[in-house]
């Protein structure tokens, strides 16, 4: 039938690739921003720090539809960033997932780096590294724990449907991802196809989690 697709044809592959691309981009950007911010939050001592930590932790549980709605209102032609015309595009989905994943990465990074700083502080200070110079050292030495955190963010973004449905619009061939396709096929009553998509999504999610386990095992062996 026209307009729909079966598993493993090119339209389906495009959907999987789009899902991966959007999620990896969002998590990659969130990592680039979140890792240094989380580390700075771990090492910095400034007024208001406890408040920020509480806020970041609370945002870890941000409901995806709320994030989606906020991004939607921002990017709408009638919103403050409407001029870029990003609504209903993959870029909008990246922004939405970025805002969902960023708090997770900041919070996990802060916790990890703060613990490691407790251990490294005297040594690094002794060697002449202040907190600012210590940040890259700590991020690199915590890399295995941090990668696990990044993969946790990846899992959340990958399985997410609420936010990207709102800001992406589930446009066929353009902003349709695995999860929004599942939602659509379910609403069309094509439950076998929805289930098949779900199985592929689960397999990919399993692969991501297997990777996370492998990384942390490797880290345990290497870093002790």
């Amino acid at each position: 039938m026209f307009g729909t697709f079966s598993l493993f044809d090119s339209a389906f592959v495009a959907i999987v690739l789009l899902s991966l691309k959007v999620t990896l981009t969002a998590v990659g950007c969130a990592g680039l921003v979140g890792l240094p911010l989380g580390a700075a939050l771990a090492l910095g001592r400034f007024p208001g720090r406890p408040v920020i930590i509480v806020i970041v932790n609370a945002f870890m549980g941000l409901p995806p539809v709320v994030a989606g709605l906020a991004v939607f209102l921002l990017l709408s032609r009638s919103g403050p960033l409407g001029g870029f015309g990003l609504l209903f595009s993959p870029a909008a989905m990246v922004v939405a997932q970025f805002s969902l994943v960023l708090p997770i990465i900041i919070a996990l990074t802060r916790q990890t780096i703060e613990d490691l700083w407790g251990e490294y502080r005297d040594q690094l200070t002794s060697m002449g590294a202040g907190p600012l110079r210590a940040i890259p050292t700590l991020i690199w030495d915590a890399r295995f724990s941090l990668v696990t955190g990044l993969l946790a963010g990846l899992g959340r973004a990958f399985a997410e449907v609420g936010a990207i449905l709102i800001v992406g619009g589930n446009i066929a061939g353009f902003t349709r991802t695995m999860t929004t396709a599942i939602a659509l096929e379910t609403s069309k009553g094509d439950l076998p196809l929805a289930l098949g998509l779900g199985a592929v999504l689960m397999a990919l999610t399993l692969a991501i989690n297997g990777l996370a386990l492998a990384v942390s095992r490797l880290g345990a062996r290497f870093a002790g």
Binding site: G28, T175, G189
Partner: protein, 278 residues
């Protein structure tokens, strides 16, 4: 060192990936806010490739309820709205969000329900009497409840039946706030009745124990209209390409293509762009 390289490569791939992402290749596209019925029925999947092949204009369809689709137009997030709820469309015109509405096609609504027919209305051609019976017997009725064209049509039908929904509604009346397909899924699961557009029903693949209970009443007529979002309100609206889509829909060629879309030999939509009263 190797590990550092791998990490860097992964990060770079994640960041650079979207440079060649979808949406980069096609520069000519319009965004159409439309209804779940046009998408779920498969109509767009059939007609859009034909339009694209002809004009080179890609059409991105955001499928929502009619109310939502009109709101998307009101925010300027779409170039064209293609919906089915005449009164709401006229209001959209009045508010100045578009300057012209063109009728495109119609199909009809049907009442579907369990094959066991607990309300005893199967085969009826009187939708008002059928709704009355459902309400009196308090048989589950699943409503879209999402401001969609179908939802608005349903609310109007209760009125036609002389019923004050606000007064009589109870646990039997279930608003789920979702699309047509989800509503049919729910009706099937609850052994309840629901109002559906025929196109979505024919294309729906999870019919299970559901069957058509009421059809053929003139009051179940469902008209679709299309409007270009007013560029005076939103300069970003793609006037030329949007108008080209509208012109094609109501052209002899577009009307013919619409009439050719069939599932299992059944025609789903009936073009009527020439009907001045539609």
């Amino acid at each position: 060192m190797l590990r550092r390289l791998i990490t860097t490569a992964v990060l770079a791939a994640a960041v650079l990936g979207p440079v060649t992402g979808p949406g980069q290749a096609e520069d000519r596209f319009i965004t159409v806010a439309s209804t779940t019925s046009t998408q779920d029925s498969g109509l767009f999947g059939y007609i859009l490739p034909i339009f694209e092949a002809k004009t080179g204009i890609k059409v991105k369809v955001v499928a929502q309820g009619t109310g939502q689709a009109l709101d998307t137009g009101r925010r300027g997030d779409a170039d064209v709205v293609f919906v089915h709820a005449r009164a709401a469309e006229l209001k959209f015109l009045e508010e100045g969000f578009s300057t012209k509405r063109s009728p495109v096609m119609y199909n009809d609504f049907i009442v579907v329900g369990p094959k066991s027919d607990p309300a005893g209305i199967a085969g009826s051609k009187d939708v008002a009497a059928a709704l009355k019976t459902i309400a009196e017997k308090k048989i589950p009725f699943v409503s879209r409840g999402d401001k969609s064209g179908t939802h608005m049509a349903e609310l109007a039908l209760w009125k036609v039946a002389g019923l004050d929904l606000a007064a009589i509604r109870g646990e039997w009346y279930r608003e789920i706030g979702q699309g047509m397909g989800a509503t049919l899924n729910t009706a099937g699961a609850m052994l309840g009745y629901a109002l559906s557009d025929r196109a979505t029903w024919i294309a729906f693949k999870n019919k299970g124990d559901l069957a058509i209970a009421v059809e053929g009443d003139k009051r179940l007529f469902n008209q679709y209209g299309v409007m270009l979002v007013n560029p005076a309100k939103f300069p970003a609206v793609k006037v030329a390409d949007g108008q080209a889509f509208i012109d094609w829909l109501i052209s002899a060629d577009g009307q013919k293509v619409i009439s050719e879309y069939k599932i299992d030999g059944q025609q789903l939509f009936f073009p009527n762009a020439n009907d001045p009263n539609a």
